[in-house]
Amino acid sequence: MSDATLKSSSASFPSLVTLLRAEPLLWLIAAIIVTGAVTSEYYLTGQNIENLLRSVSVFGLLALGMTVVMLTGRIDLSVAATMIFSIVVGVKVMVLLGDGLGLRWLVKGNTYAGPSLPFLAIAIVTGCAVGAVNGIGIAYFRIAPFIMTLVSLTALRGFNYVLTDGHPYYLRSPVFAFIGDQVVLGIPFSTLVFLAVLVALILFVNGTVAGSRFYAIGGSERAALYAGIRTERFVVLAYMISGFCAALAGILFTARLKSVDAPLASGYELTAIAIAVIGGTALSGGVGSPWRTLLGSLVFASGLNLLAIWGIGTWYQNLIVGTVLIAAVALSRIGRPRASS
């Protein structure tokens, strides 16, 4: 299996023609957009495209982190909890720091009014730290990934409520307004952040020797180990990347809402897995790429957006998403040669 996989995944910047031939998802995205443009006069309006791009950014970031973890044959159920946790920790730590300095950064109405940049840095560091804990538990203490990250999910969700006392914090500053609302050259700032991470990950995962280790570990962990790869370190790195992406997604998400609340983003971990899988990432590891995950998130977001524009109710949307998820995976398996399993 690994030979063909490695070849197809390492070609990350093919020409347009081969691209269209190789990526059936591009046809699907085109079909969704054309359908949208034909059936609704609002689909291709600037406002709708902006909304679409913003939702791609948050879900896409979570799915990118998930993809790197899934490449190693593992899973990260904690991403949505981490997303909110890193922001909550950011607020809490800054407020404590402010207290220490004799400044009141939490003003009336639970609004955080302290400096934004250190806050963002703390949030990012928290996300990476959660990833590191997950990774160390899994790589060095040999806890099954599903269990370790399930434990993190449970614990972090609990901490989110405990730390916030169940009240939302409001975030008001020009920096949040910029991250959440600014449009640069027609593209929301949050989408630019997402694209930057995407390009960095494509360059790293598909363009460097270190990045190819993720594929090696997912393809055959034992072979990777015998080849002298320090698999533990790469597993920790994969989870740290996932934690980083989650914290960044949390920043984009809460900057848009201008608030953070413990129950937000619940269930997003499953959406992130769904997107990665739609993009062709295999749960068993070794197959997938950040580029395909971008396509997966575009399919997901543009499809959902189309259903919303058509005025289809949330529950029917969920029904369709579930069906499409199963159908997409079923179709992708029919194309492959039938194996013994």
Partner: protein, 330 residues
């Protein structure tokens, strides 16, 4: 080699696993020791802990999640996973609940349980027939079943108050025991008989332990997989009904996130997600451990959110020694 085989090969690396090997039994004993230790601590901290009324509270709290966990354990032993149980429970209860105006308990209860079996059958066909990884198939089913439940009920709660036997399932007593607790006990005994003393049980552990070997020794692997998903669907529907009956309230948006709690109980009970390992008794003890911890923390007035953190710590504490002993990766 297919992707599925790859995972199994990599995860169950040193190969052959016997049902309930010696070490697993030791592990089972240590879980019982942990449970007893917790009970002792609880009794010391809160003298009323072992009062019959409080024990009944603990068992009632454990009943529904225990029933779900029994189904989940069977699926996990077979090397699969079922994330759809919350959706299955709700859709089954809602479809049964729609028949409440007929006034027929047989119809309401029958349709509820039948829906569970049918949804489990669909899960099984998706996994065994179409070879979709169970994580994805049941994740899709979770969304679909939840959506259908809300569409069918119009998002409105249903009230089974008028169906006497239905409510009895949640609130009645028989032989001095609450009915949900009795159902959990009966189901436990049946599931132990199924896994330990039946040919199906052997086929189940063989399928989860090494698919290829199971198939080569003539076991109908697809049938085993479909059967465990049907049993899990049935358990989910039954547990949903016990809770809805106790509350006299069928909530189309209930059971949010229960699949992860149930999985936590299953794993705490010693079942390995790579398959071929796990026992019903282990799962039951794990459910009781969680029940005792929750009860104790409730009595101490600890917030339920901090309890979540405590439960996570307990799972980690129980799983860690096993994981370190195992030594191999993934």
């Amino acid at each position: 080699m297919s992707a599925v085989d790859d995972t199994h090969a990599a995860r169950s690396a040193p190969a052959i696993r016997h049902p309930a090997p010696f070490r697993a039994q030791i592990g089972g004993l240590s879980r019982i020791a942990i449970l007893l230790l917790l009970v002792l601590t609880a009794q010391l901290v809160t003298p009323s802990f072992l009062a019959p009324a409080n024990l009944q509270v603990i068992l009632m709290a454990v009943a529904a999640i225990g029933v779900m966990a029994i189904g989940m354990t069977l699926v996990v032993i077979a090397g699969e996973i079922d994330l759809s149980i919350a959706g299955v429970a709700i859709l089954a209860c809602v479809l049964g609940g729609i028949l409440i105006p007929t006034g027929s308990p047989v119809l309401v209860i029958g349709v509820t349980l039948l829906t569970g079996l049918v949804l489990g059958l669909i899960n099984g066909i998706l996994v065994a027939g179409l070879r979709i990884p169970s994580l994805i198939a049941t994740l899709g089913m979770l969304g679909i079943a939840r959506a259908l439940a809300n569409i069918a009920s119009g998002g409105q709660a249903l009230y089974p108050e008028s169906i006497g036997p239905y409510v009895w399932l949640g609130r009645g007593t028989l032989l001095g025991l609450p009915v949900p607790v009795l159902i959990l006990l009966v189901l436990t005994v049946l599931a132990i008989a199924l896994t330990r003393f039946s040919i199906f049980g052997q086929a189940l552990y063989a399928t989860g332990g090494n698919v290829k070997a199971a198939r080569l020794s003539g076991i109908n692997v697809a049938a085993v997989r479909i059967a465990v998903f049907m049993l899990c669907g049935f358990c989910a529907a039954l547990a949903g009904m016990l809770d809805s009956a106790r509350l006299s309230y069928i909530n189309p948006s209930g059971f949010e996130g229960i699949e992860l709690s149930v999985l936590a109980v299953t794993v705490l009970g010693g079942a390995a997600l790579s398959g071929g390992k796990g026992t019903i008794t282990g799962t039951l003890v794990a459910a009781l451990i969680i029940g005792v911890v929750n009860n104790l923390l409730n009595q101490l007035g600890v917030s339920i959110y901090l309890q979540q953190v405590a439960i996570a710590a307990v799972i980690l504490a129980v799983v860690l020694p096993d994981a370190l002993k195992r030594g191999t990766g993934k």
